[in-house]
């Protein structure tokens, strides 16, 4: 409320209005005639009401305080006193308040009272501390009467000084109790000063007690004058040793906490409710890469990475609400470096109110980066696991799937089985036509053995695929089985090359056999001629007459012819084995039969043989013409050659189809072959079985080679004395 009455009044008005104290002015009837800004705030916080000019003060006074108020108001209005401090504790805002009543005079008469209420919480606390200290300390009294020249020490004082009851204390001897040196000099000066100027003293000095103990004491003194001369000195005497030690303890504990704060290995800081640093230790400054003074008063937010601000502020709020929180966040130093920190926030509570929050920050950049590295290396391992060419399924001992990689999954899917799922059992999924026996796997794995299966899968997309399925035991330190690793390796390439290898091995084997046959031909057939030539030459040299020489020359001619024939036959054999690019074409069998019978005309006529051709005129085979010619000639000439002497030779030519394969039959009613005895030699070199002296033997061998070369085969059925049937399977 403003009273408009000029410059000075304005100043007063402004002073009151803006005073940090709460100011009310009441009229005689205890109605509020004036109040300042803080007064309305105070009323609001105290009673929750808003104050208006003209309101009765009683409206706002706590009922318990009314009596006390009345007394003070009455005394003030009566001008009995100008100052009264009423200390009030307000539990709402946890503060102590002091009220000062002051009379306001108008024309020499008190017609109003001002009440000033100040926050004395801080003072009150100190006071209470002092009270506490006083409670534990002992206070005695003393008096020095300069008129009667007497000296009095109260019992407590004597107790403090440990003076026996019968010991009288003189004026000066009292001073002698003070410790020699500065303590004693100080008390002497103070007493002298008090006597001369009347100024009292209050000193904390060391005293040596009667028994010789060094104690701290507080000596207060005041002088009383009578007719301008000092009449007496009196005061209190107090043992402050304990108080002193409490004070020292306080100092120590303050230092202790301070050092705990300063020397804390972590960054420790306190933030006010606006998140400004109100105290920081050296390590906090170190973390922030700046100095302690630079940090003080600055806000926390700039140190916080943008993405973390909201989260961190939320944690601060939680701490401000009284909770302690711990979290990881980023931290940007004053130099702009990023760190990873762990912060623990605690509320700082004074008298039940959170006034600030503590922060304890740890630099975890290294452990974060170590953790990231670990995660990265784990991720790398996973990548290796997922991208290896081998499928893996990790199983527990009871075949529960722990983990698997992509390859394993695609293997399972390629078998049209239900997909692998973690935490499901494997039993169903391993099963296939040749089921993997889980019991067998388990038995072996428990013994620490691995089990390997080979599996062939016909894939529409990739053709035949071969897999090696290996179950490895995973053993612990004490060889206990912890689980099973199922390893699925695609061995198709290996398998295919194995098959290729087998093929070439067989080919090589075949060629080796041919080579052996060839060496047999050389040693038995070629050499038989050369050995004969050698013999003949010996006879020629040793010939006793011309007649013998001519005979030997004749023999030599024969041998040379035989040798020539043998070499021709050999050439035939070798050329079959070397025919890499042979012509295939459809050939009419009838044509080749006529050609052969033409060549064998003489023998057929001689033996009166019947060629019974049951083949259709257009029967054809896909074959090489030269080979077919040789085959026809050989089989037919053999059939005629080994005819039975007792009956007319009949040679039947026929065909049938076996599994889509064309089979030519050449059957005779000849002497037959004892297959049990000679079957293995039937198609060998230069074998003749029938005691027929002109048998060449090589024919069958050549035929067999030609047919096999064209991808076919020859089978033989025969009974001695009855006849022989050859079956030629064309490809």
């Amino acid at each position: 409320m403003k009273n408009d009455s000029g410059g000075v009044n304005d100043m007063i008005w402004s002073y009151f209005e803006n005073s940090p104290d709460v100011v009310f002015i009441l009229d005689k009837d205890k109605n509020i005639v004036f109040f300042n800004k803080n007064a309305s705030k105070y009323i609001l916080s105290d009673s929750g009401m808003s104050v208006r000019s003209g309101d009765s003060i009683y409206k706002f006074i706590n009922p318990q305080m009314v009596d006390s108020f009345d007394i003070h108001f009455q005394k003030t209005i009566n001008a009995e006193s100008i100052e009264r401090n009423i200390n009030v504790f307000n539990p709402v805002n946890d503060k102590w308040w002091s009220a000062t009543y002051q009379p306001i005079y108008t024309d020499g008469v008190v017609n109003a009272v001002s009440i000033t209420i100040s926050d004395i919480t801080a003072t009150k606390k100190t006071e209470r501390q002092h009270e506490e200290i006083s409670n534990v300390s002992r206070v005695g009294g003393w008096e020095a009467d300069y008129i009667n020249n007497t000296n009095y020490w109260s019992p407590v004082s004597r107790q403090i000084l440990e003076i026996p009851a019968d010991f009288s204390v003189g004026m000066h001897s009292a001073i002698d109790f003070y410790k020699a040196g500065p303590d004693r000099e100080n008390i002497k000066v103070a007493i002298k000063n008090a006597i001369e100027t009347g100024i009292g003293f209050d000193l904390e000095l060391q005293v040596i007690t009667h028994s010789g103990k060094n104690i701290w004491t507080r000596t207060k003194g005041k002088a009383e004058f009578h007719n301008g001369k000092v009449a007496r000195l009196y005061g209190t005497f107090q043992d402050t040793t304990e108080k002193r030690s409490i004070y020292e303890d306080l100092l120590i504990s303050q230092q202790y906490y301070k050092s705990l704060f300063e020397q804390n290995p972590n960054a420790v800081f306190a933030l006010d409710l606006n998140e400004k640093f109100i105290s920081v230790n050296e390590n906090a400054a170190l973390l922030a890469e700046c100095s302690v003074p630079e940090m003080l008063g600055s806000e926390f937010a700039p140190f916080c990475p943008k993405e973390d601000v909201t989260r961190v502020m939320d944690f601060f709020t939680q701490a401000q609400l009284g909770r302690s929180v711990s979290y990881d966040c980023g931290f940007i130093t004053a130099k702009g470096n990023r760190k990873e920190i762990n912060i623990t926030n605690l509320p700082i509570i004074i008298n039940g109110v959170v006034v600030a929050i503590y922060g304890i920050a740890k630099d975890i950049s290294e452990s974060i980066s170590a953790k990231n590295q670990l995660e990265k290396s784990e991720a790398n391992l996973r990548t290796v696991f997922d991208n290896t060419d081998i499928g893996y399924v990790l199983l527990t001992e009871s075949f529960k799937i722990v983990s698997f990689n992509n390859h394993a999954q695609s293997y399972i899917l390629s078998k049209n089985q239900s997909p692998l799922k973690e935490n499901e059992y494997m039993t169903g999924t391993v099963d296939d036509a040749r089921s993997i026996d889980i019991a067998e796997v388990r038995d072996n794995v428990q013994k620490g053995k691995k089990v390997i299966y080979e599996r062939n899968i016909k894939s529409a997309e990739y053709g035949d695929q071969w897999y090696n399925i290996t179950f490895h035991p995973v053993s612990g330190i004490q060889n206990e089985v912890l689980g099973i690793i199922m390893e699925i390796e695609n061995i198709t390439a290996r398998k295919k090359s194995e098959i290729e290898l087998n093929k070439s091995f067989n080919l090589l084997n075949e060629q080796n056999k041919r080579l052996l046959n060839f060496s047999y031909i050389i040693s038995h057939n070629l050499r038989s001629h050369t050995s004969n030539i050698k013999s003949i030459l010996t006879f020629l040299e040793e010939a006793e007459n011309e007649e013998e020489k001519v005979e030997m020359m004749e023999h030599l001619k024969n041998v040379s012819n035989s040798l020539d024939e043998t070499i021709h036959n050999l050439n035939d054999v070798v050329s079959i084995n070397n025919s890499v690019n042979l012509i295939y074409r459809p050939l009419f069998l009838i044509e080749f039969i006529s050609k052969a019978t033409d060549l064998l005309k003489d023998q057929i006529i001689q033996k009166k043989a019947i060629i019974d051709n049951k083949l259709l005129i257009d029967t054809s085979v896909n074959f090489n013409p030269a080979f077919l010619e040789s085959i026809m000639l050989n089989f037919l000439s053999n059939a005629i050659k080994y005819s039975h002497p007792d009956r007319q030779p009949i040679i039947t030519l026929d065909s049938y189809t076996d599994n889509g394969q064309f089979v030519l039959i050449i059957a005779d009613n000849g002497i037959g072959i004892d297959l049990e005895k000679n079957g293995d030699k039937l198609f060998g070199f230069y074998k003749t079985f029938n005691g027929n002296s002109d048998a060449r033997g090589l024919g069958l061998f050549i035929c067999k080679n030609q047919v096999e070369y064209m991808g076919g085969k020859i089978e033989v059925e025969s009974e001695l004395g009855k006849g022989t049937t050859f079956k030629i399977f064309f490809k």
Partner: protein
């Protein structure tokens, strides 16, 4: 110097060879009688007949390997069976044009075969064979 043997058999299907061998043996006056068989079967049949008739058995046999009907190895098998229970003490030489080590090793595996000779057989070889055969008898 060389006492004539009573019987020498040549079992071989190479007519030129048997002709030349017989000629040499005759020159050397090796035996009173020389018999030639074209294959193993004929040889075995002759042996059986001689045993039956209790006639003289051959003192020395030149046996070829590669023959039709019954080759040298089959002859040896049959011979073993005949010798079992009958007292046949013929000395058998395998005479072949084969220089294959396999054939030589196979010949050695039969105790009935005295030795293996590679054709052609020189006069000197025949003389030494005759000497050995006489000692044996």
């Amino acid at each position: 110097m060389i006492t004539k043997l009573k019987n020498i058999w040549v079992i071989d299907d190479d007519k030129l060879y048997t002709f030349l061998l017989t000629k040499t043996l005759n020159k050397l006056q090796a035996s009173e009688q020389i018999s030639v068989f074209e294959n193993g079967k004929l040889g075995i049949d002759a042996l059986k007949l001689r045993i039956e008739q209790q006639a003289d058995l051959p003192d020395l046999i030149f046996l070829d390997i590669n023959m039709s009907v019954m080759d040298g190895w089959e002859f040896i098998e049959e011979y073993k069976q005949l010798a079992h229970g009958n007292n046949i003490a013929s000395i058998i030489y395998v005479a072949s044009s084969s220089i294959s080590a396999d054939d030589m090793a196979k010949a050695k595996s039969h105790k009935e075969i005295y030795d293996y000779i590679v054709k052609p057989i020189s006069s000197n070889t025949i003389i030494s064979i005759l000497e050995k055969t006489q000692k044996k008898n």
